[in-house]
Symmetry: C2
Subunit: 333 residues, 2 copies
DNA sequence: CTGTTAGCGCATTCAG
DNA sequence: CTGAATGCGCTAACAG
């Protein structure tokens, strides 16, 4: 900017005024400044400006397990759209399911002074964020609650969703229902299992823990697939299976594709082409757009200075019943 | 930092030294500083540091059409991984296929002084980036070339891929092959059509433009789906179809699911569950990991100061033949 | 080992 | 309408 000022033969302040259209400038002077800007390829340094004005970096941080997982990338899109409404961009990163990496990312983003942080937590403890929260960086936890922190939270009703899944299968006449879940350390896994048990109870089905397998990681490796296959074999007595997340659902489908008739399946979270498989796959799904939008809006509200006690939102899950291939189904997302 | 210094009863420079472990500090002093840091919840301001050191923001910008599209989110993941190698984070944004938005995002990211920019271009002109390039912000175009700019480029061999697709279908005995493509303004569409024609020629098939439909946008809306349906109807004489991108493939599959027997299909770019559909869907696919990694590494190299003439990389596409459901297929990505 | 000074690029005073 | 001085939070270059 100093260079521009020199080139245009004016003071740096005048350049600043032109660049920010902050005050009337003599047209002739403005023209000279614009010419200099063009010639020098000047572009205002957003970081420096931010340092001076303290007006926020215009950035929201997003930490998910794996940005390549459609579940998260769809969430990312919803957050991006809502963030754009508030003139913000999104700095996204994958924790890879590593608690320490999650922590490093969160603190790194805070160091960059993001205007807010959206975290899909894999870690259990988040007290390290207490200082940042108090210092004014709003944080919202999505899909999974935080540990030991009084922050905004937007969850899906996993417990209710799982109960719905079981009820649905019971309606179809199933009595031997299995559950294939992710690591029990994950909050959603526990909630879904709770709902599963409640669903069984409500349907008058004895909960049979031999049909339940937890701790299935399904991030795409061969061994993950083998684990899911083994779990399916172990729970072979089940005539129907509830799968605890979209990765497990896909892994199960891949395993089952080899065999003959497929047990009835209800997956957690919708996925593209679920309706085009044979047979189609029913799911209980959270509304990712609502989840992401709500989270981003909470952040934006706090950024605007709104003060309210930490909000705990729980959004309902929806059963997408594809078990009757008779009428044409509505489309997947 | 000044606050910390006061609280610890030392100079600001000492705090700086402790924070950056830049020079030996008396253990006792260091302890006091650490205590103050803890107490005040101090975290070094990355923006200010960057302003002073001019050492780069540790950020790569990524501009895609739609970050929620699995094609792009997978690319995003590859770029994130490679960026992490160089200690960089990724600022990602969707252009929504809007040339002007693409431009705004690119310039905004430059204003934020990203260390490099990865663009999957929807626009045709990029001369507005010439100044930034010269000023030292490296830019790499992925999947589609840039217009009027001498920048690094990493493309897939779309032309070869399309020819492979046709050859494959010809091998299966098809002579009436259709092509459903995206907007002809998009470089990949043109290349793929070129390859399609070459494939036809090489297979001794007369190119029949009545079996070709371009300009199909398939970003998920109802009208998009209707357009693809109509195009499929128009090209009904074809016994086999090549679909020009993953969205069109899915839209076509959804349309065709209603009818009886499906024409043979070869899609551009792989998608999850392609192998589990009935019948499975063969595709020609680019290696998104290679695409993303190559792009990020080019950027990182230039960030390190490497000077080399703009590199034009073309990666081969791969035919994933799923037309013989006899042996078990390998998994989708 | 520690402190002082200056300045990164910009915007905000306050004077012309 | 325009400009000079001051400081955002931090670090580099020097002193002590």
């Amino acid at each position: 900017m100093t260079d521009v000022a020199r080139a245009a033969g004016v003071s740096i302040k005048t350049v600043s005024r032109v660049v920010n259209a902050e005050a009337p400038v003599h047209p002739g002077t403005a023209a000279k400044v614009h010419a200099a800007i063009e010639r020098l390829g000047f572009r205002r340094n957003a970081g420096a400006r931010n340092l001076r004005t303290g007006s926020g970096t215009g950035t929201l941080g997003l930490i998910v397990e794996d940005i390549g997982n459609p579940f998260y990338s769809e969430l990312h899109r919803a957050i991006e759209r809502a963030a754009a409404t508030g003139g913000r961009h999104v700095l996204a990163a994958s924790s890879e399911g590593d608690e320490e990496r999650e922590r490093d990312l969160a603190l790194e983003f805070c160091a960059r002074r993001v205007d807010g942080l959206v975290i899909i937590a894999c870690g259990e403890r988040h007290d390290y964020l207490a200082a940042e929260l108090k210092a004014g960086t709003p944080v919202v936890f999505v899909d999974r609650p935080c540990g030991e922190l009084d922050a905004d939270t937007v969850l899906a009703d996993d417990e209710g969703g799982a109960a719905m899944a079981v009820a649905h299968l019971a309606r179809l006449g199933h009595r031997e229902i299995g559950f294939l879940g992710d690591a029990p350390e994950i909050h959603t896994t526990r909630q879904r299992l709770l709902g599963f048990r409640r669903g069984c109870e409500e349907a008058g089905i004895d909960y049979d823990e031999r049909l339940v397998r937890l701790g299935l990681r399904a991030r795409g490796t061969e061994t993950d697939l083998a684990d899911v296959s083994a779990a399916l074999r172990d729970t072979g007595a089940a005539t129907a299976i509830v799968t605890g997340n979209n990765r497990i659902t896909v892994a199960a489908l891949r395993t089952l594709a080899a065999g003959g008739r497929r047990p009835e399946l209800v997956g957690f979270d919708d996925f593209e082409l679920a309706d085009l498989l044979d047979p189609p796959v029913s799911v209980v799904a959270s509304d990712l757009t609502a989840l992401g939008t709500t989270a981003a809006q909470l952040l934006l509200a706090r950024t605007r200075g709104d003060r309210f006690p930490p909000k705990k939102v729980v959004l309902p899950m929806r059963l997408i019943d594809r078990s009757h291939p008779l009428p044409r189904e509505e489309s997947a997302p």
